[in-house]
Symmetry: C2
Subunit: 335 residues, 2 copies
DNA sequence: CATTAGCATTGTCAATATATGAGTGCTAAT
DNA sequence: ATTAGCACTCATATATTGACAATGCTAATG
């Protein structure tokens, strides 16, 4: 078990390191703990043996290990209130009646990125419990139409369909009507299968040239299903952090940001605001991700802030909690 | 004026440097030119004095200057034919009847990025000569709708509109009908002004609660106007090039990539395939951009490849020219 | 007059040495 | 349990050196 002073030393080391990004030596803590550097060193040694602190080399000061951050977040951090200044900025956004919810969310993430110099991500509109709400077809040229699909949560996707020249436009709108009649209310992830097993047999009888048309719609609708809406704010902010001073680290994190499975890695998260440190992120060992889902009933998505492990946990946690709450009340009221 | 041998030396230096990224010394060219290193040195000196070559330090080999690359592209490069291998890859894409044009274009840029390790960009659907072709409103909840706008080129945009609770849905669809009647066929960049000066006076009489509704549509439509479609391929490829071995250069180019005016910087270009070197790019002095517009009548956009100044000019130029031609024929046929 | 051989010059790069300073671990004394 | 003191370790910074790769220049050559 950790003694009281040891806990406090760990807390101070984490907070100092968060602030300055410099390893913390024993001397610098003497006044604060009213004891000699040797005493601090002894405690630090214990903390290191327990896995909470590390050294970069044998004679460097201590920095928190991943477990150290974790212990700090779970036990040491005092959930101070969000600072008045921060709160003010956010409140003016959410109380602005002119601003619709989407824009308010985006703006609030911009503020987070600005004041913290971290990167934030907004993942919108997970398609899993979206229901198909309308299919629309708009002719573009003689041989092509745009298929537009709208969900009950207001998510819109579109796909251009090139038609074989021998298809009559009437056939197309007939198909569209049918799709509307039969598919409205279907969860998006079931659309493809229902299309295949329920619609296909029927369309066969109604529409003369059903096969080409069916294929086109099938591709359009299933393509839609997989697309996700991702909004970055301050994508390169994290590079300003001193931990990213080596080329390889920079290249590495950037390519992670561009990778295709990033969305799924961020997306899987809980309802509450949660902290994922280093290896817990399944994204990159050098970063911390603080994220949460929001759900207004009408709309849902994920908010995430990505920063160095040396992230200002207290502040970001507070900010995200506040924003989540604001979104959910503002979203609720407007319903 | 440059002598024949001098031109050839410049040509070889550029090509060697493109291939190896190592400064080219006088000795290494002796055999090729059947003369002593001193002779080469003299010529190199002349080339340096004329601004075509540079040294990194007093005793390094020579590398091409920006003007050197320019001279090479304008006068020295022999527009060899596209290599059989490259052509084959691209042709299979464009001859694939299953693939629609958009996907074919994207796939072809993927290939360019793959084989060259450069970054490519596809800018779709410049809105300037898009005509508004349909406005659609889909109700989402009691107090919100999605406005969907389609252009004659198949570009779709949408915007959620939060309605004040006291507005009847019928008012909304009445407004929508009116917009369709009056705005279809209008160039996108005129929509906002026509909305204000022509529609507003009329809507006033037709719709009881016109103001809120008008504002909502105004915002939605003008917001739409400014959005652009950007597709990156191999966004981080360029970082693999040896010129990006310093942190600051990497951070710099990445933040340029994320900057908001990037689109406009890339977009302004000519119909033919053109080369912009270093400072000519107005993007970053360390890169070369080769770009072109394509226009199939039905669809238009910009293709661009971004690489180091030490870019393989011949190859990329050929690839882009080929793709542009393929797009325009394939696009034409499908009309 | 263009070309060349020869040589001093100038820079990079890698290896080596050297000093400095920050911080530790350990031990013996308090 | 705490502390003072000391030897030790390592990072960082700086200077020195030699090997090497090119260069510019000059004087000789065909």
């Amino acid at each position: 078990m950790l003694g009281e002073r040891q806990k406090n030393i760990l807390k101070v080391v984490v907070e100092e390191y968060i602030k300055n990004a410099h390893p913390v030596g024993s001397q610098s803590l003497c006044k604060k703990f009213k004891c000699s550097s040797a005493t601090i060193r002894n405690d630090m040694l214990t903390l290191e043996q327990m896995g909470y602190l590390e050294k970069q080399h044998i004679s460097s000061g201590r920095i928190p290990s991943e477990e150290g951050y974790r212990y700090y977040v779970d036990n040491l951090m005092e959930p101070k209130k969000i600072s008045g200044e921060d709160m003010l900025k956010l409140q003016t956004i959410f109380s602005n009646k002119e601003l619709d919810l989407n824009s308010a969310i985006e703006k609030s993430l911009e503020i987070i990125s600005d004041i913290t110099n971290y990167t934030s991500i907004l993942l919108g509109k997970a398609s899993s419990d979206n229901l198909l709400s309308k299919v629309e077809v708009v002719p573009i040229t003689k041989s092509s139409v745009v298929a537009i699909v709208v969900t009950n949560k207001g998510h819109v996707e579109n796909k251009e369909i090139d038609l074989p020249t021998h298809i009559d436009l009437k056939e197309v709108s007939k198909t569209c009507e049918l799709l509307n009649k039969m598919l409205v209310g279907t969860p998006l992830d079931e659309v493809a299968s229902r299309l295949e097993f329920e619609i296909k047999p029927i369309i066969k009888n109604y529409v003369t040239n059903y096969e080409v048309l069916y294929n086109a719609f099938y591709e359009a609708l299933s393509n839609f299903q997989s697309e996700k809406d991702v909004r970055w704010t301050g994508k390169t902010n994290i590079l300003k952090q001193p931990e990213f001073s080596k080329v390889d680290d920079v290249k590495n994190i950037i390519s992670k940001f561009e990778s295709k499975d990033l969305v799924s890695k961020i997306e899987e998260t809980e309802d509450e605001v949660k902290v994922y440190i280093g290896s817990e992120t399944s994204l990159d060992d050098n970063v911390t991700v603080i994220k949460t889902k929001y759900n207004t009933g009408k709309r849902e998505g994920t908010l995430a802030v990505i920063g160095p492990k040396r992230m200002d946990y207290e502040r970001v946690l507070n900010l995200l909690e506040f924003i989540k709450k604001e979104i959910e009340t503002k979203g609720g009221i407007n319903d």
